[in-house]
């Protein structure tokens, strides 16, 4: 076996030469005698300054002596039979250690997938989308690997592509996956439909007959990319026991592990995973990228193998947000009450299932928005096509629906000549409302209040671009490109509100694990928190330290690097981590606290009656009564002993949705946000400046208010992106991606990002830890339709598609 890491294997690249310190293993302290830095405070995240100053060690910075570089050869066509693969010339290249194809896979498990194992580790017989991995190369230099891969000759016989519902579900359509036998294949209307979820409640036909106005619309949502910082990368190090240590930027270590180990033919205990520096994820790291490939190359060559995608490859290295076509019908009575909603949501899942089934469940169950509608007829489905695979992205099915139902709400309000906010408030759901799935909403749902708050915020002054020296182009549509000095510029204001589920739904056994230890170091009690939670920028490591301080009364908290030596923390997605792994940390801390108190009672119980009679807390390093009387220092209670527990935490169980009616208590919790967008549109050139995006959101309890506002502003900006610029463009004839770069896939710059005033409401959910509500996704939902509504108001155009491009606004 080649060089083993000389130091603790948990930290490759910790030498001074490589900036490889794993940022989650920081001791965070506040240096205060009382328990400061607990929940509710805006303690600073340990990775923030490092990221801003460029010192943060991303997974792409990992380094190991003697390591090789892996490279992935990807398909140049979207759909083809592979007639032959000739690796001879590549293998003969000096510096190349291995070239692997499907035929080299070591076990009978050759596919992986989040829910359906339909994704080949390397293409076999066929490629189903542009950029699919076909072969792997390991070489002593990344350029050597890339050049060797270019010498692999793959002979393709191109097949017709299916790219939309009409082509994919035609009776004679070519099947993307032949011989399906997954658990959805039995109930779908066509083998090119991954999953279909109807929801029927009440009697939509009868209700429609009562409607005074009926409004219909067809909507199109473009394919958005997560565009996270830090493209896919990782380092696989072969171990002496025949296993492998994998350091990788991911979203859910244990889900990766479950998919990796069988392909390698190793027990899970021999695939040791450690989270490496993650820039961001937004759902794009839920599926595997280089994990299995890196391990295969490392085990084959006996050397550490690093794989780093560049940005171009990253566009092919992860799934995207499902593009969607949505058809809606809303009815309402003259007094402004919704009668019924009918809708049909067609999501393009691309070539592999990824998270499509769950996205379908979300899109269907959240399809009518945060409104009271008793009579609904809903259908959502995801297609298999030869387009790029789509899966998880922030908002997960709820985003596409919100774009459409909020456009509909404005249309109905206009038909009724009602103020759009007033109309929404008349139909707003509240605690006790029954969802289309039959599930009652059993915690606060302040939808009308959020709308009221966002509307009550002062509007930004008109024409802020006017200065004494003329127009400040930075504040105008077009910005520095100097396209207008005010000509053609019209302001518009729009509103939207959305509903997102928190946590994994539909009967999934969703749990998180936390290990917490308390001991005395240098006379001071120190807590150590160990979870497998992927810190992807959400601020979980900060919140875990805050929770430990609040629950254990300590100042010093060490957060261990996330790895698979501890139980699963579930995915960093679905707005769930503060609720779930935060909840697990709280839960374990409470159990640890009880052990500490037991220890105290045994040691000091005889000295003070309160040990037996009072409610005891840990605060400021001491055991105190609920009356505030200090009984002992925690350090004295512990002495040389430590308390160390690992416990699992679950949210309330949920149910699957009935496959025909969609009925079932499928969700755990909901999250609500409302936006008001103020835009200025250059109506002649079709350019948009978003002036302000005000947001009001209920977060239940803000554990870290600064992070909460950061999440809301980030989600808001991501929603803005898909409103006015972000779209992966796929050629409908070839199914090839046309803009896989940041030159042509545009994301907002700071000049595109408006001021984002945030009003945070904290109405506790009694079922959740601290009453908190997941924060991360809801602001991504309503931001997009609010911007669209504002542009509609400014232009008078219908705009049924997002993102809006200049030619949509000019008609040219």
């Amino acid at each position: 076996m080649a060089d083993q890491p000389r130091t603790a294997p948990a930290r490759p690249g910790t030498s001074a030469a490589a900036p490889g310190r794993i940022p989650t293993s920081l001791t965070q302290g506040t240096g205060s005698a009382t328990t400061k830095g607990g929940i509710g405070e805006s303690t600073l995240r340990p990775d923030g300054i490092l990221k801003v100053t460029g010192e943060f060690a991303y997974s792409s910075d990992l380094w190991h002596e003697d390591m090789l570089w892996g490279y992935t050869l990807r398909s140049t066509v979207a759909h083809a039979r592979i007639l032959s693969i000739d690796t001879g010339e590549a293998l003969a290249t000096s510096g190349v250690y291995a070239v692997l194809t499907y035929d080299d896979l070591p076990t009978e498990v050759k596919n992986y997938g989040l829910e359906i194992r339909d994704t080949p580790v390397l293409a076999h017989g066929k490629v189903r989308h542009h950029g699919e991995p076909v072969a792997l190369v390991a070489a002593d230099h990344p350029e050597t690997a890339r050049r060797a891969a270019a010498k692999i000759r793959v002979e393709y016989e191109e097949l017709p592509v299916v790219t939309d519902e009409a082509s994919a579900t035609a009776p004679d359509a070519i099947l993307v996956h032949e011989g399906r036998d997954d658990h959805h294949s039995g109930h779908v209307p066509h083998p090119n439909v991954v999953h279909r979820q109807p929801i029927v409640r009440g009697d939509a036909d009868a209700a429609a007959a009562r409607a005074d106005v009926v409004v219909r619309g067809d909507y199109v949502f473009g394919m958005q990319d997560q565009a996270f910082l830090g493209p896919e990368s990782g380092l696989a190090v072969p171990a002496e026991d025949g296993g492998v240590d994998l350091y990788v930027a991911t979203q859910w270590l244990h889900s990766d592990l479950r998919q990796i180990a069988p392909v390698l033919g190793l027990p899970e205990s021999k695939v040791r995973m450690t989270l490496s520096g993650v820039g961001g994820a937004f759902g794009g790291r839920e599926d595997l990228s280089m994990q299995i490939h890196g391990c295969l190359l490392a085990l084959r060559t006996g050397k550490p193998v690093k794989i780093v995608y560049n940005r171009f490859e990253s566009f092919f290295g992860h799934v995207h947000r499902h593009p969607a076509r949505l058809r809606y019908e809303h009815g309402a009575t003259r007094d402004g009450k919704l009668t019924h909603v009918r809708c049909r949501i067609v999501l393009d899942g691309g070539a592999y299932a990824s998270a499509s089934p769950a996205v379908v469940g979300n899109a269907a169950s959240l399809s009518i928005g945060p409104y009271v509608v008793d009579d609904v007829d809903i259908e959502a489905l995801a297609l298999y096509t030869n387009n790029p695979p789509c899966g998880a992205m922030r908002g997960f099915g709820a985003v596409q629906a919100c774009f459409a139902y909020e456009a509909q709400m404005d249309k109905v309000a206009a038909e009724l000549d009602l103020d759009p906010v007033e109309f929404r408030q008349r139909n707003a759901m509240e605690q006790g409302t029954i969802m289309p799935t039959g599930q009652p909403v059993d915690s606060p749902a302040p939808v009308a209040e959020l709308l009221r708050r966002v509307k009550a915020m002062p509007l930004p002054p008109e024409q802020q671009w006017r200065t004494t020296e003329g127009a400040d182009v930075r504040a105008l549509p077009g910005g520095l490109s100097n396209t207008t000095h005010g000509e053609g510029v019209v302001r518009g204001v729009g509103y939207a509100v959305g509903i997102k589920n928190v946590g994994f739904s539909e009967g999934f056994d969703d749990y998180s694990t936390a290990r917490v230890r308390i001991e005395v170091i240098n006379g001071e009690p120190v807590a150590t928190v160990h979870t497998a939670m992927a810190e992807v920028g959400q601020g979980g490591v900060t919140v875990h330290a805050q929770i430990a301080r609040s629950e254990l009364g300590v100042t010093q908290v060490t957060i261990q690097p996330a790895d698979t030596r501890v139980g699963s923390a579930g995915s960093t997605s679905a707005s769930r981590q503060t609720y779930m792994t935060g909840g697990a940390v709280k839960n374990t801390c409470e159990a640890v606290r009880e052990k500490v108190l037991d220890l105290g009672r045994r040691r000091f119980g005889t000295y003070h009656p309160a040990w037996a009679t009072a409610e005891l807390l840990l605060e400021g390093g001491r055991v105190v009564t609920d009356g505030g009387e200090a009984l002992a220092d925690i350090a004295d209670v512990l002495g040389d002993e430590s308390v160390d527990l690992e416990l699992e935490f679950r949210h309330r169980p949920t149910q699957a949705f009935d496959l025909r009616t969609g009925q079932g208590n499928g969700h755990v919790q909901y999250s609500f946000a409302a936006h008001r967008a103020v835009v200025e549109v250059d109506t002649e050139l079709g350019l948009v400046k978003v002036v302000e995006l005000a947001c009001a959101q209920d977060v239940g309890k803000a554990l870290n208010p600064l992070s909460v506002v950061g999440q809301i502003q980030g989600g808001t900006t991501q929603g803005l992106g898909v409103a006015v610029m972000e779209e992966i463009v796929v050629d409908p004839k070839t199914a090839k991606v046309r803009n896989p770069s940041f030159t042509d896939y545009l994301i907002p710059t700071i000049l595109d990002t408006p001021t984002i005033p945030v009003d945070v409401l904290e109405l506790a959910d009694e079922h959740a830890p601290y009453g908190l509500r997941g924060v991360g996704e809801a602001p991504t939902l309503s931001s997009t339709p609010a911007v669209l509504a504002a542009i509609r108001q400014a232009t008078g155009l219908e705009l049924n598609r997002t993102p809006v491009r200049p030619e949509h606004l000019t008609g040219a």
Partner: protein, 289 residues
């Protein structure tokens, strides 16, 4: 790939003569992108950063001799008065980091129709100073762009500088992109009023295989201003004239549909930019009285 590092201009010319395939690199904001994307693997790369005179400029009586490597930031800071159109165009180039590195020589060397400097260069007017061991020649900008990413340089020639006419009147530059900063042009337009010769010149970017002038539009406007005596009266340009000018600019373009925009939008946007920038420059001309 061999990396040549000439210490002087003479060395650079000698190296280029010896290795005509050598790709010159200064700021690297264009060349490095091509190399990173593997669109280009030149056998030789010639670093011109040691040739410091390329980063200098001289302001003469009628022209500015702008060194090929003078970064856009310097143009914005120091040549606003002499080259206002180019200074405005420089503002729209990518990000501050790129503007600190990139210069006009790179735009000319690559000769992409999307280069931000071209419309301003064409509207302002000038010549490219091309040099080789054989000597120096001046290539009028109007003759410099030959085709998509093709220019009039001989294989052994390097761009030493551009000689640009000092502005004798207002100039403007305007570019459409789908975000408000750091964006490649969907299309761009430059206009320069030349009161000394009573002419108007234009430049169009990203809407034809090469950067082009809208000559018919220029001739129409020059004639219309002349006939109405507006250079002297400094009276307003009649809307019908501005409209006709805009239409002619749009008509001069030969754009395509691509991932950044449609051909018809490009034509439309050029017309709007032409009308607006004419308005801004003419107003400035009137106000200058």
């Amino acid at each position: 790939m061999e990396f040549l590092r000439p210490a002087s201009w003479q060395e650079a010319l000698a190296a280029k003569a010896e290795h005509p395939a050598a790709v010159p690199i200064a700021g690297g904001t264009d060349v490095m992108v091509e190399i990173n994307f593997d669109h280009r693997r030149p056998a030789y790369l010639m670093d011109l950063n040691r040739v410091t005179e390329l980063q200098e400029w001289e302001i003469g009586a009628d022209t500015v001799r702008l060194g090929a490597s003078v970064p856009y930031t310097k143009i914005m800071e120091h040549l606003r008065t002499e080259l206002p159109g180019l200074a405005l165009a420089s503002h729209t180039v990518a990000s501050p980091q790129i503007r600190n590195r990139g210069g006009v020589g790179g735009n000319l060397g690559t000769a992409s129709p999307a280069g931000d400097a071209h419309p301003a260069l064409l509207a302002g007017g000038g010549q490219v100073e091309a040099a080789s061991v054989r000597g120096t020649r001046m290539i009028p900008l109007d003759d410099f762009y030959l085709g998509v990413k093709r220019n009039a340089l001989e294989p052994d020639e390097l761009i030493r500088a551009v000689h640009l006419r000092k502005a004798s009147g207002p100039q403007q530059f305007s570019k459409v992109g789908t975000r408000n900063a750091m964006v490649i042009a969907v299309c761009a337009f430059g206009i320069a009023l030349h009161p000394d010769t009573r002419t108007v010149r234009t430049g169009i970017g990203s809407a034809a295989p090469t950067p082009i002038r809208a000559r018919t539009a220029e001739e129409f406007l020059t004639a219309a201003l002349d006939e109405a005596g507006l250079w002297d009266s400094r009276g307003p340009v009649p809307p019908s004239v501005a409209g006709q000018f805009a239409d002619l600019v749009a008509g001069a373009a030969n754009p395509i549909d691509d991932v950044r925009g449609t051909a018809s939008y490009r034509r439309h946007a050029l017309g709007v930019m032409a009308r607006r920038t004419l308005g801004w420059t003419w107003q400035e001309y009137r106000d200058a009285n």
